[in-house]
């Protein structure tokens, strides 16, 4: 394979990953890293380095729209970024320490978890009153958003900011270690622990992912793991795919069966990655 052909193949897969990711509501990294490593035999540290930059691109693109619509809670985001950036730094260093096999292993485990989160997202959670929280009041985390389906402004209260902070540290570590946005960990942390509405959680998660990824991208760059030959086409491809997906395909594809199919694929890839981590 010539470098030109290699780049075209990477670009093609990246567009596909971005497209699929935007339809499923996940980042491209979870799809892209297995493709780069298992199919194209790219070293996993380079795959992670390339993915982390594309994560910044897609999340920034999505966040631009969410912020404009005032769907993302920028104060919650800024507060939690204290933990995600610290986690991302830890994760990036940890990844260098545990080496390729360790990364494969953790990646497999996180993929399996993400599959379960996606399955669970199909059911609707019941409404319970949100317990009052003094710190959340002090930080003025509560907010409101415009609900299109209800046609009115919906206000909400936020609780347990410290629990959120702890969970975000974990999410940040995973993100920094694996080069993924780890929205599958961030959204439940805000949704379940801090009780933000799901739409706000998703929007805020996207808003935070860019900053989280930038923290670990700095480490990967300085370590020489961001190879322009791989990261370039990945970055352009994933962004292009995500844009195409959200502009032209969203709503036209039945995402329920797509999701069910993807959960199956995710579990299978998780198994492959775990096996590679266990005995390469």
């Amino acid at each position: 394979m010539t470098p030109f052909l290699f780049m075209l193949v990477v670009l093609g897969f990246s567009v596909g990953a971005g497209l699929l990711g935007s339809l499923l509501g996940i980042g491209g990294g979870l799809i892209l890293i297995p493709v780069l490593t298992l199919l194209l035999k790219v070293d996993i540290q380079y795959a992670v380095g390339a993915s982390i930059v594309s994560v910044i691109a897609t999340s920034s693109g999505a966040a631009a729209a969410y912020v404009r619509d005032r769907m993302a809670n920028t104060r919650v985001a800024m507060f939690l970024e204290l933990a995600t950036t610290a986690g991302a730094l830890s994760g990036a260093f940890l990844s260098g320490m545990v080496g390729g096999r360790g990364v494969y292993f953790v990646f497999g485990a996180v993929m399996a978890w993400s599959a379960l989160v996606m399955l669970r997202r199909m059911r609707v959670s019941a409404e319970e009153p949100v317990p009052a929280d003094a710190l959340a009041d002090r930080l003025a985390l509560h907010g409101s958003y415009w609900d299109e389906s209800q046609g009115r402004e919906v206000s909400y209260r936020v609780t347990r900011p410290l629990a959120g902070l702890g969970l975000m540290y974990v999410a940040g570590t995973v993100s920094g270690m694996l080069g993924i946005g780890s929205g599958a960990l961030k959204v439940p942390a805000m949704d379940l622990a801090m009780r933000l509405p799901l739409k706000v959680s998703t929007a805020t998660s996207n808003f935070m992912i860019g900053v989280t990824a930038a923290a670990s991208a700095g480490v990967y760059f300085a370590r020489g793991n961001i190879d322009p030959f791989i990261a370039g086409p990945v970055c352009v491809g994933v962004t292009l795919g995500a844009w195409l997906g959200s502009r032209h395909l969203m709503g036209r594809v039945n995402s329920t069966w797509l999701r069910a199919l993807f959960v199956g694929v995710l579990l299978w890839v998780a198994f492959e990655m775990l096996r590679k981590g266990w005995a390469p």
Binding site: T2, V67, D69, R75, E148, G218, V219, A222, I226, G232
Partner: protein
């Protein structure tokens, strides 16, 4: 948090930097920064890729050059490397510069938030935002030491 800006669908339709009362809308500023930052980065990456293949026609035919791409090898990983490469019109340095712009977008977003919180005289959030910004700067410094 002052809620002077219009909300709801009519808010998303307006792209003006200021609302009716003439106040700057932080959300629009941040949104524009993200949007144009990503666009600038992707343009640089694309430009760099085109330059690369112009300068290395052998990349189109030879398969030897790929060997080094899928295994660990040195790539430009300091700001100085990228800068000297870009000045020498080296395609890969342009790509790298584009990727660095991408990494810089969230950093600039946090810096912008810092200015906004400072303008709103929100001292608690000025402190939080400063800490996040420090962490981001630290990541580049720490990574280089590693």
């Amino acid at each position: 948090m002052p809620k002077t800006a219009p909300r709801g669908p009519e808010a998303s339709a307006t792209t003006a930097l200021r609302d009716e009362s003439g106040q700057l809308q932080p959300e629009v500023l941040i949104s524009d920064l993200l949007r144009y930052g990503v666009a600038a980065s992707l343009s640089l990456v694309t430009l760099g890729t085109v330059v690369t293949f112009f300068r290395h026609p052998d990349y189109l035919v030879s398969s030897e050059a790929l060997q080094r791409l899928t295994s660990p090898h040195p790539v430009p990983h300091t700001l100085g490397d990228v800068l000297t490469g870009a000045l020498a019109a080296r395609g890969q340095a342009f790509v790298m510069a584009g990727l660095l712009v991408m990494m810089g977008v969230p950093v600039m977003r946090v810096a912008l938030s810092l200015l906004i919180f400072r303008q709103q005289k929100d001292r608690l959030y000025v402190a939080i935002t400063t800490a996040v910004l420090a962490m981001l700067v630290l990541s580049f410094v720490l990574g280089a030491v590693h």
